[in-house]
């Protein structure tokens, strides 16, 4: 029986072209998205940070103070009109460094997820669809990697090579794929028993086609939600690594690094830790709210409301 108790949706033969159908679809998606205040708030927060980060040189008052810069006459100034977030131990404007620090955080999220997610998805699809020994091998490897904590891995890699932001990203990516592999594996296992997959098999579609045209699109909403929530997590891990001295190296601006250095000067120069911490909090909260909202919106999509 149909889940939709309001009768079939108004399917009048007015959507005569692909574009009209697309517009209608987007209109409905936007309607659902904007009805959910959580996703709107989260989305706005994330969008704000992204815009600030992209336009960093234009929106910050002292873009030249972001990295290697010293002005010992303005050291440890508390928040004022000219320096909204105050200045740090070498006289740099904290607000500017926070915004530039956002760049690093977002880039880290993008790179780590950009590498680990496709890799994890692919392994998950293969493991879930083919089963048998392929599944066993892939999932047991996944289990091994899952048991390695991100920070320990980062420590190991950074110790083996050198403690740079690139190595930190590599470390996190090398473990992050496991979560997506697990997610997609379990989704694939249940989706492959659906009748539309059997229908494709009866038609004679190749395994690859079935994986990418039938199964993957049905994992998409879960993956999107997870990526959104992951972004916050990855940024947090990256900041933690920087805090430990394994990520962003001074004088480059990094939120975790800033907190690390600022911690030494608590509680007198509180602005050195409070603002970067709040910046991280703001961004991660934004991603989390966006992810929750997206999940609500995408769950309902398949019901056709």
């Amino acid at each position: 029986m149909r889940a939709n108790t309001l009768g079939p949706s108004s399917v009048t033969p007015q959507a005569i072209s692909r574009w009209a159908a697309l517009k209608d679809g987007l209109g409905r998606s936007w309607y659902r998205f904007r009805r959910n205040p959580i996703s709107l708030i989260g989305g706005s927060m994330v969008l704000l940070v992204i815009i600030l980060a992209i336009l960093a040189p234009l929106v910050t008052p002292y873009p030249e103070q972001a990295g290697a810069f010293t002005d010992f006459s303005s050291v440890f100034r508390p928040p004022t009109q000219s320096h909204w977030f105050g200045t740090d131990e070498v006289g740099r404007d904290v607000f500017t460094r926070v915004i530039f620090g956002y760049r690093v955080s977002l880039m880290m999220a993008a790179v780590v997820l950009g590498i680990s997610v496709p890799f994890g998805i692919f392994l998950g699809l293969v493991a879930g669809y083919f089963g048998g020994w392929i599944e066993t091998v892939i999932m047991r490897i996944t289990d091994v990697f899952l048991s390695l904590p991100a920070l320990v891995m980062a420590l190991a890699i950074c110790a083996a090579f050198s403690p740079t932001i690139e190595h930190a990203m590599l470390a996190v990516a090398s473990i992050w794929w496991t979560w997506h592999c697990r997610l997609v594996h379990s989704l694939t296992r249940s989706i492959k028993t659906e009748e539309f997959v059997q229908a494709s098999q009866v038609i004679g579609s190749s395994h690859l086609r079935i994986l990418f045209k039938d199964i993957l699109p049905n994992c998409a909403s879960a993956i999107i939600v997870k990526i959104t929530l992951d972004a916050g997590f990855v940024i947090l891990v990256g900041a933690s690594l920087s805090f430990l001295g394994l990520g962003v190296q001074p004088p480059k601006p990094g939120l975790g690094t800033m907190i690390s250095y600022g911690a030494q000067h608590l509680p007198m120069q509180w602005w050195l830790t409070v603002f970067p911490s709040f910046a991280i909090f703001f961004l991660i909260l934004g991603f989390n709210l966006l992810g929750d909202g997206l999940r609500d919106m995408l769950d309902v999509e398949a019901e056709g409301i």
């Binding site: 029986m1 108790t5 309001l6 009768g7 079939p8 949706s9 108004s10 009048t12 309607y31 409301i305």
Partner: protein, 334 residues
């Protein structure tokens, strides 16, 4: 004199949707007398689920809007009840069993836990004191499992739902629905998800309970054969309205409304023969419902007045009511 256990009078229910306001129920009137088995037959999208939810007090009113109507359950209007009053009547005055017994029970708890929970829940919310002791609660559970003809009630209580077959699960659900002594049971497609032979057993059980306990049953289904064999009166629902209502045998022998006729003609017969071609057109979009009679775009007997004015309820013979201009004052009487 017949006492009414349920009287729905001119119920209207609307919803806010992407396209505007969806007027799902457009004046539903229905009644069930004590000890009666009444059928509500209608196809997907006709509004039977919304109607049921309203009767049970389970319709969330902010998304839904109820501009008009009364739902009088055993003398009280459900629509005017507070949340506490609704909790009191659920399970004690009116109870419901659903279509899918496979998923209605929680697989992580035993059947006994769930059944005892139902008894205790009603106990907590009853206004007329009388707390049941543990022993009394357990006895009640065993008694009701026996009433639904489940062998070895004690074993059933300690079983998990996955250990039981579909038929047994449905019996457990009927037991849960009846354990707090409601006089009125709403059964939503109780046999649809079950095998033919098992479904027949369940319907037999319900009829037996009506006979011995005097409860009333509102049987909601799109299976007309089930309606014919299990109910005394039937209401045919289309697009948020009851279009025809009559004693079952009478309606099946002599359907008056064109929709009822089309429906009955579409049912395949055990005796074989061609089935009719269905009813042309589709269920309307309630946000842009047809004017006048909601069935008129699909009707083979349509007249000009049908698209202009809504047909009145006409009595064509004692107890047999139709909403159709073919029988109304201003139309020709056939």
């Amino acid at each position: 004199m017949d006492r009414y256990i349920l009287e729905i009078r001119d119920l209207h229910v609307h919803f806010r949707v992407y396209e505007g306001i969806s007027r799902v129920l457009d004046g539903v009137s229905l009644d069930v007398r004590e000890g009666e088995r009444v059928g509500l037959a209608g196809e997907t999208g006709c509004g039977k689920t919304v109607t049921m939810k309203t009767v049970m007090g389970a319709l969330k009113v902010p998304p839904a809007i109820i501009p008009k109507g009364e739902v009088i359950l055993d003398g009280q209007d459900v629509l005017k009840m507070s949340a506490e009053q609704l909790l009191e009547i659920k399970g004690t005055k009116v109870s419901m069993i659903f279509q899918d017994p496979m998923n209605a029970l929680n697989p992580v708890f035993t059947v006994g836990t769930q059944l005892l929970d139902v008894i205790r829940f009603s106990n907590r919310h009853s206004s007329n004191g009388g707390k049941l002791s543990k022993k009394e609660t357990l006895n009640r559970a065993i008694t009701v499992l026996g009433a639904v003809r489940l062998p070895d009630p004690k074993r059933i209580l300690s079983s998990y739902s996955l250990e039981l077959s579909g038929g047994m699960r449905q019996r457990v659900l009927i037991a849960m629905a009846l354990v707090n002594g409601p006089r009125f049971l709403i059964a939503d497609e109780p046999q649809t998800a079950l095998d033919v032979t098992i479904g027949a057993q369940i319907l037999d059980l319900l009829s037996g309970l009506v006979k011995t306990n005097g409860i009333s049953v509102l049987l909601i289904t799109h299976n007309l054969g089930v309606i014919r064999e299990t109910t005394e009166r039937v209401n045919i629902m289309y697009a948020g309205q009851i279009v025809e209502s009559a004693p079952t045998a009478l309606l099946f022998e002599n359907p008056k409304h064109p929709y009822s006729r089309g429906l009955l003609a579409s049912v395949p017969r055990l005796t074989g023969g061609k089935i009719a071609e269905g009813i042309r057109g589709t269920v309307p979009d309630y946000a842009r419902a047809p004017s006048g009679c909601r069935f008129h775009p699909r009707c083979d007997y349509v007249m000009p007045i049908c698209s202009q004015k809504r047909p009145p309820l006409t009595m064509v013979s004692p107890g047999h009511y139709v909403k159709c201009w073919l029988y109304g004052e201003e139309g020709e009487v056939q």
